[in-house]
């Protein structure tokens, strides 16, 4: 069953002057447990697509159904709550809260969700262990390497038990060893816990690991290849 269905999605900038189509009539669907890369040259619409999927940006037309909910019809406040409960984000530049420790950064989303302390502690530890940072729970981001910070970001994205994780160029700011390590962790989470990952990326290593590669050009899907 599809957890995400995109129908005729479009995003037009400067609609009234010189219209620029960032996305132009995209139809796409994702199933639970996919490990998908969205690729394409700069300006092809990868990031716009991810922003739409994450409910961070509103489309000019079309629908995005997530687990049966059309998120394009949600109001700003409802979208924030929807994101918190359904979508995990991993950003290119980690974006951890610098004043909080690794544990607190991961725990933060669960606190927003109102999860009780005991459950939070248990899940935070499990998540940080699963990304190989069980020893760094009380370390602040500035004492962690880029790779470690991004692994905390993955743990944070998983904390809210989202339906899927959106990762925008997750390896762009990492050295090759850290990138490799991060990809292995995400692949393992996908394989063992059936967590859905959707990446936008330029990185060939990410593309190589992906089991499905969707290629965008000029806001349109030019290929959609699944590897088995």
């Amino acid at each position: 069953m599809n957890i995400i269905e995109i129908k005729n999605l479009s995003k037009v900038y400067d609609e009234k002057t010189i219209p620029v189509y960032a996305l132009n009539g995209v139809d796409l669907a994702f199933k639970q447990g996919e490990f998908t890369s969205i690729v394409g040259p700069s300006g092809s619409g990868k990031t716009t697509m991810l922003n739409m999927l994450g409910g961070l940006d509103t489309p000019s037309g079309g629908k995005i159904m997530i687990d049966g909910t059309d998120i394009t019809g949600l109001k700003s406040r409802q979208l924030i709550d929807f994101r918190m409960r359904n979508i995990g984000f991993v950003f290119q530049s980690f974006n951890l809260i610098p004043v909080l420790t690794a544990k607190e950064n991961v725990e933060f989303i669960m606190q927003l969700q109102g999860v009780d302390r005991e459950q939070r502690d248990k899940r935070t530890l499990e998540l940080l262990q699963s990304v190989g940072l069980g020893e760094k729970i009380n370390t602040r981001p500035n004492k962690l390497s880029g790779g470690q910070q991004q692994r905390v970001a993955v743990a944070r994205a998983l904390a809210s038990k989202p339906k899927f994780i959106l990762a925008d160029e997750p390896t762009a700011n990492l050295d090759s060893k850290s990138a490799e390590n991060l990809l292995e962790i995400m692949e393992k989470l996908n394989r063992e816990e059936n967590i859905t990952f959707i990446f936008s990326t330029h990185d060939s290593r990410v593309v190589a690991k992906a089991r499905r590669v969707v290629t965008l050009e000029d806001g349109k899907i030019v290929s959609d290849v699944s590897k088995n």
């Binding site: 922003n51 974006n95 004043v99």
Partner: protein
């Protein structure tokens, strides 16, 4: 959690936060110290006025105060004084004859108020005797007759010294003029040079002897055992003696009453202006913080932090910053005020001017404890008001744009 993040965020850029905190501390310390000096001056003026000049409450024949005619005495003053002594919360009472007259020395002459007093009773109510320096005699020391205690200003005006003779000329209650020579027994120097210039004290027994009559009592003065009991005592005396004019110190000396009320308002105006100015610095700093953290705030909103939580976080950060500065400011101020209160600030270089307005040249800064409570509320309000603009700015951020900002 929001609370924790907000508090930790205050210390994120320590130098910048410390600059803001230092600005608040210095601003408040300056303001509070200024206020304490003004309050100290006024308190001293009022205290000195009460202790040396008017006491807490005075009773007069209502006609007397119109023209200070000594024939308007208080009938049966002795028994009234006994009744007053029995009123609860009254600490001490004294009776005074008050006549208008002239004081003359071989060099000069001037109009004065002559107070015929019982020195022992007078000392129970007034502390003017303490304003006589050791080198300037005493308050009716020795058993000689016709002693007079005068103020330093009058002594200088008449060019007389201790033990000099001055002639007092006055009109009795029966209308006759009398004059007699008195020996200067003590020279007092209160904070109020005008008071020192026009009031002379003689013993009531000497007054009655030289006038060969009982001059009666024109004034009854009393002090309560506590300032807070003055209204109660005044009300009790008004109902007991409806034929007499019962006034408290602020009615007798409206200037003192007025300055006390004015200063209570002025204190808050001064501190309000300082906090208002500081608020601009706080707003500026918090706006910088919001701009600097645009991406982080965008991320927080992206991952599900509601706008109201973001708003609250920025509000809390601003309030924490302000409160920390406020506490530091109040602590530094309390220390400074306490040190200056112990040693006093000597403004004798300006004492001529100050004395003319009844201010003591040595000021002991003082802050009423309730000011710190009210100031704390004002500081929190400043924090809240300063936070609104930066917090609103944070709300205007769109996560999709904010997370892209480098």
């Amino acid at each position: 959690m929001i609370f924790k993040i907000a508090f930790k965020n205050v210390w994120r850029n320590k130098v910048r936060s410390l600059i803001v905190i230092t600005a608040i501390t210095l601003g408040l310390a300056g303001g509070i110290l200024t206020v304490s000096v003004i309050t100290g001056m006024v308190e001293q003026k009022v205290r000195s006025g009460i202790n040396n000049e008017v006491a807490h409450i005075q009773l007069h024949n209502p006609e007397f105060l119109k023209n200070y005619e000594s024939r308007y005495t208080i009938p049966r003053a002795d028994s009234i004084a006994r009744i007053i002594s029995g009123v609860s919360s009254v600490k001490a009472v004294c009776l005074r004859s008050r006549l208008t007259g002239m004081a003359a020395s071989p060099n000069s002459a001037t109009g004065v108020q002559i107070l015929g007093v019982d020195p022992a009773a007078e000392k129970n109510v007034f502390t003017l005797y303490k304003a006589i320096p050791d080198s300037a005699g005493g308050f009716f020391t020795g058993s000689r007759k016709n002693l007079v205690v005068i103020g330093r200003k009058l002594a200088d005006k008449l060019k007389v010294r201790l033990k000099s003779k001055i002639v007092l000329r006055f009109q009795n209650p029966d209308g006759n003029l009398t004059e007699a020579a008195f020996s200067v027994n003590g020279i007092f120097q209160s904070a109020n040079t005008m008071f020192d210039e026009i009031n002379v004290f003689i013993k009531k027994t000497d007054l009655d002897r030289v006038t060969e009559m009982d001059n009666g009592i024109q004034e009854i003065a009393l002090i309560a055992n506590d300032n807070s009991n003055i209204p109660l005592v005044k009300a009790a005396l008004k109902s007991k003696f409806p034929g007499l004019l019962v006034q408290d110190w602020s009615e007798i000396r409206p200037d003192m009453g007025m300055v006390t009320t004015a200063i209570a308002i002025e204190v808050y105006v001064i501190l309000g202006i300082i906090l208002f100015a500081l608020a601009f610095g706080i707003v500026n700093t918090m706006l910088m913080i919001v701009f600097e953290r645009t991406r982080e705030l965008g991320m927080l909103m992206a991952v599900g932090m509601s706008k109201s939580r973001v708003f609250r976080m920025i509000m809390l950060e601003t309030i924490f910053l302000t409160i920390i500065g406020g506490i530091a400011g109040m602590a530094v101020s309390a220390t400074l005020v306490s040190v200056f209160h112990s040693y006093g600030i000597d403004l004798s270089a300006f004492s001529k001017g100050l004395g003319a307005f009844g201010f003591d040249p040595k000021i002991y800064p003082f802050i009423k404890p309730e000011l710190y409570i009210n100031l704390s509320i004002m500081i929190i309000l400043t924090g809240i008001l300063s936070a609104v603009m930066p917090a609103r700015k944070a709300l205007q951020l769109k996560p999709v744009e904010a997370i892209r900002i480098e």
